[in-house]
Symmetry: D3
Amino acid sequence: MSLPICRIKIINGNTCQPMTININTSAQSVKFSNTEIVTVQPQTGPESIESFYDEYLAIPGILEQIILDTDSDAFVLACWGDPGIEAAREITAKPVVGIAEASLYVANMLAAKWSVVTTLHRVRDMVEKTVEKTGLTARCASVRTTRLSVLDTEQDRTATLDVLTEAGNLAIREDGAEAICLGCAGMSGLEQQLEQRLGVPVIDAVAAAVKMAESLVSLDKTTSKRLTYRLPERKEIKGYASHYQAENFCR
Amino acid sequence: MSLPICRIKIINGNTCQPMTININTSAQSVKFSNTEIVTVQPQTGPESIESFYDEYLAIPGILEQIILDTDSDAFVLACWGDPGIEAAREITAKPVVGIAEASLYVANMLAAKWSVVTTLHRVRDMVEKTVEKTGLTARCASVRTTRLSVLDTEQDRTATLDVLTEAGNLAIREDGAEAICLGCAGMSGLEQQLEQRLGVPVIDAVAAAVKMAESLVSLDKTTSKRLTYRLPERKEIKGYASHYQAENFCR
Amino acid sequence: MSLPICRIKIINGNTCQPMTININTSAQSVKFSNTEIVTVQPQTGPESIESFYDEYLAIPGILEQIILDTDSDAFVLACWGDPGIEAAREITAKPVVGIAEASLYVANMLAAKWSVVTTLHRVRDMVEKTVEKTGLTARCASVRTTRLSVLDTEQDRTATLDVLTEAGNLAIREDGAEAICLGCAGMSGLEQQLEQRLGVPVIDAVAAAVKMAESLVSLDKTTSKRLTYRLPERKEIKGYASHYQAENFCR
Amino acid sequence: MSLPICRIKIINGNTCQPMTININTSAQSVKFSNTEIVTVQPQTGPESIESFYDEYLAIPGILEQIILDTDSDAFVLACWGDPGIEAAREITAKPVVGIAEASLYVANMLAAKWSVVTTLHRVRDMVEKTVEKTGLTARCASVRTTRLSVLDTEQDRTATLDVLTEAGNLAIREDGAEAICLGCAGMSGLEQQLEQRLGVPVIDAVAAAVKMAESLVSLDKTTSKRLTYRLPERKEIKGYASHYQAENFCR
Amino acid sequence: MSLPICRIKIINGNTCQPMTININTSAQSVKFSNTEIVTVQPQTGPESIESFYDEYLAIPGILEQIILDTDSDAFVLACWGDPGIEAAREITAKPVVGIAEASLYVANMLAAKWSVVTTLHRVRDMVEKTVEKTGLTARCASVRTTRLSVLDTEQDRTATLDVLTEAGNLAIREDGAEAICLGCAGMSGLEQQLEQRLGVPVIDAVAAAVKMAESLVSLDKTTSKRLTYRLPERKEIKGYASHYQAENFCR
Amino acid sequence: MSLPICRIKIINGNTCQPMTININTSAQSVKFSNTEIVTVQPQTGPESIESFYDEYLAIPGILEQIILDTDSDAFVLACWGDPGIEAAREITAKPVVGIAEASLYVANMLAAKWSVVTTLHRVRDMVEKTVEKTGLTARCASVRTTRLSVLDTEQDRTATLDVLTEAGNLAIREDGAEAICLGCAGMSGLEQQLEQRLGVPVIDAVAAAVKMAESLVSLDKTTSKRLTYRLPERKEIKGYASHYQAENFCR
């Protein structure tokens, strides 16, 4: 039996193209052979997401990548924080996977307690809220923030690796972490080196999400349209292109 | 001693103008004499917010009303769900109050248990998440959704009153509610009639938020810029007007 | 339109008169012009509340100040811990606000995480239970206790300021607090100096409660008499003056 | 080896003497042979506790029964709600057991889920808060309130039995209770008849607390004086007899 | 690139062979082409797991299937309840996936709220504890138990389908479920028919777990050996075959 | 009145006989005069329980000690973790008490916050799960693990005392513990010396459980057979002696 092709569109939440390339490289390296990966970035939104403001301005552009899509079988939201994921699940029946939730599920299957190691100190609250939203706060040993901006993680891989090693070691030694979740899509590709340095599983969220998306497609599952994730009601939406109007959605 | 003028800008989360007028009427009727209320609606976004999709598309327009503002002392986000409130707190140091949180604080001071009575059944999850975000889930007797769309609440006040009376009575009799929070800005102005019908306190969220905003201004408090709510980092934000760029913010 | 007069009675939970004066000064300085503030202390009870024992002995005297009152529009319980507040809400339909809950609501509108800085180390459990009762434990970065007794906070303002500065800085640097709630009525009046020293919002609980009380009166709200906060049943109450008997209550 | 005598003072929280007699009868029937039980009622306070107001007015009188005691080895607070128990633990090092907590511990050792069946509907919130304070909310199937006043439970045993049977059956059939905790000291003595009618364990809280008190004395344990339950600070306490002043405490 | 072979051993928790066959059929139908599935049952333990007693007696036999294994890349514990999963993670570094946790992760990616529909009424507490252990209780609309024994689910597929349809409909209509998790490995293979009848996603836990196991192997992840899931300490284990002794483990 | 004899069988969870003797000594020293204590160990299972693997292999042997028993009135599971306790409650109606739960109930009646001081670092997760299962996590100041194996606690009492003193002091000074629960049956007998060293109540779990078992027998209570703890269903159980088959149970 030959597997049908599974097309997954990964949407980098940031408009920074080098990160899209990096995300794509990571995803390509873990996909199953019959999976096709396309990685895109929004037309609109911030170069990088490092605040609630950035996140909210990114969401319309992220959703647009789903609205305009015609041939993907599943979508991955590639920004730790899973921005706009509930809306994404409303506008399509195809599976939508967030990299944050995916990485936490994987961590939960590998370790009794794990920590999230991530970017700037200011995102602590965002990250904690994301963990809380999945319901897995009791399994989270800590959130370790760093001095790394999102773009730093792309531009200086050596320094990034060092900062993540230090933060990971603190999480392991002081907080009791037994695995590490990388809390930013920009950190994709560093997981193997970090794993060697830290001696515990290190989870790349993009890779985790690709696996979850492949899984959902393979199981032939679609998002429940029963209540919460029904298609949005039809109504006037001012200042957005016509494809944002619910009556124009491909279903 | 004469009080200084306190200018509060209320931002209807919906782009539906009649609701702006209704919200304004409610707010004017409860404000202190030295308060000036201006009620606006976003330039962009959905006519009404009834899904996560609607909410996320509304947020950039809501934030713009804060970004472009020069003379208000505080802001009220007038959509139950407090859309984008964390971002609003990042882009200004002036107090920002959400009508959902404000109404829950008021309810908590009046009753041991309260219910939220609101619009379409599909918003149950959104409303529960909002209650959870304030931390007050343990005090919430129930969320009672109805067949009312947001625009229904504006257009047929008599039917709305009847539907809310029925839902409120169920909340009181079956769920143990001892007060009712109206879970939609469009329901503003019905609280007194409902209170007479139901025999328990009924809280108009817009009115509650006006009071909280007046309180914060009167206390001369500003949002903490210590960490989470710092100004957004400066960076390129594609596809948004230049006033959305953090380096152009009035501070 | 001229506002009606709003009369708020603030009940210092302690029988220490200098604290009553201090509380009154703070309250007068933040009230709206049409508000009248009267600050009283119980006839019976401990000089200061620093244990569960103190708190329980204070409550009958606190409640008496409500029972005997004829002309106030709202009551503020001015002891962090909100002693007897559920009973206070039973014996009157007029709004009753606790300074602890009020300060936490204000903190929640200004900061993602806050700490409570308070008196003697032994009150940690009392303070944590108070935060838990409001439901806001998840937003509380820490409770920082000190070597200050309640009366210390009144008698040596300079030393108090120094101790609070140290505790506040620890809360900010080690616990992630982004705002500070002063966890004792005796600390009223120090909030501005502390705010300058600490660089984050510092919330005086008395001031916060005055604003909440003004808000509830302005909204014309009364406590729900539906179930939990109904008037107490009529019955014999031994060893208390006749005004404590429910059948003698003014309603 | 002959056991030393263990003297337990049970303090009926209500000033109603017939209930004291009833409590005493229940306690005598379950005590070990070397235990001496003395059951008393406060000199001051309400005839019965059915509201927060009643509870707070009862506490000073309850505490007085501990303060004036010289020869008991342990104390039982015999009012479901364990009024003033934290203060009781401050003013003596001898073990203090509340009947509510004791009954929940016993229930937890007998059943996966249990319900509390209790008096007037208005006490629901009080009872839920008591369950929450022990931390056992997740094991509580429901709180079933009734039309029974506290005094009803004493005065009409047949009707009480019928009402409790009905409420217990509802808890079992509709809420999934597998055991029933009787949520009022006045219900002591009905547990065996109810157990026969309901077919599940029915726990008399007074009996449970006698066993816990015997246990703590037998283990030679005393309350921790490390921090929270230290003796109250010495200070002036207005309007209370001199034995209430901490400096006069027997230790 | 051709995928390496991934060998997954599925361990039916029950010793009932027809269920092993059924589980295997389901697993084979969803696996990726390069996955090899072997489904086994323990040599010892109960025919079916319907109580804590059954579960605990099943665990040594389940663990033996891992201990004696030499060539699998991952293990699936095929009994809803994930019996012994923490121990399984101690005795091998290869990924171990429980069907309960896997099904909940899948449900969480498809629906805002879901219910578990399962066997005999007596397992309610076991099922609730399993949901709690994953941390996802807040997303669980309800647990719906039925009159079906585990063996019933194998032996009468038509009746099983009818009972599950009824329970599923109740979960959807009365409890707000938007997806259904089948809470027993014996129900594998009914998910498509049920999905058509119920109109919401129905998740077969075995299929979900196969996907999770494939994912973990594909990501080249192993269980953290940092602390909790280290190999068991070497010591005498009485009454068990020598392969159960930790010093004989293949690593 | 002379008390009837109460026979309690204590089941050491470990197959290490010296620990059985130690447990028995502790139990004999706290029992009431009419109590008869028999302490046994399983025929099968690990010498000591220090991992989930050990725990699960111990449970069948522990349960066998209940199944084969004919004359005990209650059972105590003497391994902190209460292994298999739900199953134990299914197979007999006689009360079953776990030493972990018993020690936490006792601690809760003596202190506002307590810590568990226990063996190897790897058991932290097991201990935290046990505390969580009782529902008392909010009262737990910390879990302090040590370098002590279970057998160490038996074999070198002096070193054990020193290690526990150090860990206890850290719990008190750094975590805010006001009492200490000894988290291993092997630590029985050290509680008095530790109490003198630490200055806070130290609870021996075995002693606590003896008291709880005496209490339940004295109250004439049996485990609820309503639903969760019903006798196991009759079915084939492969590889276990015939007395393990439910149809052979004495009832």
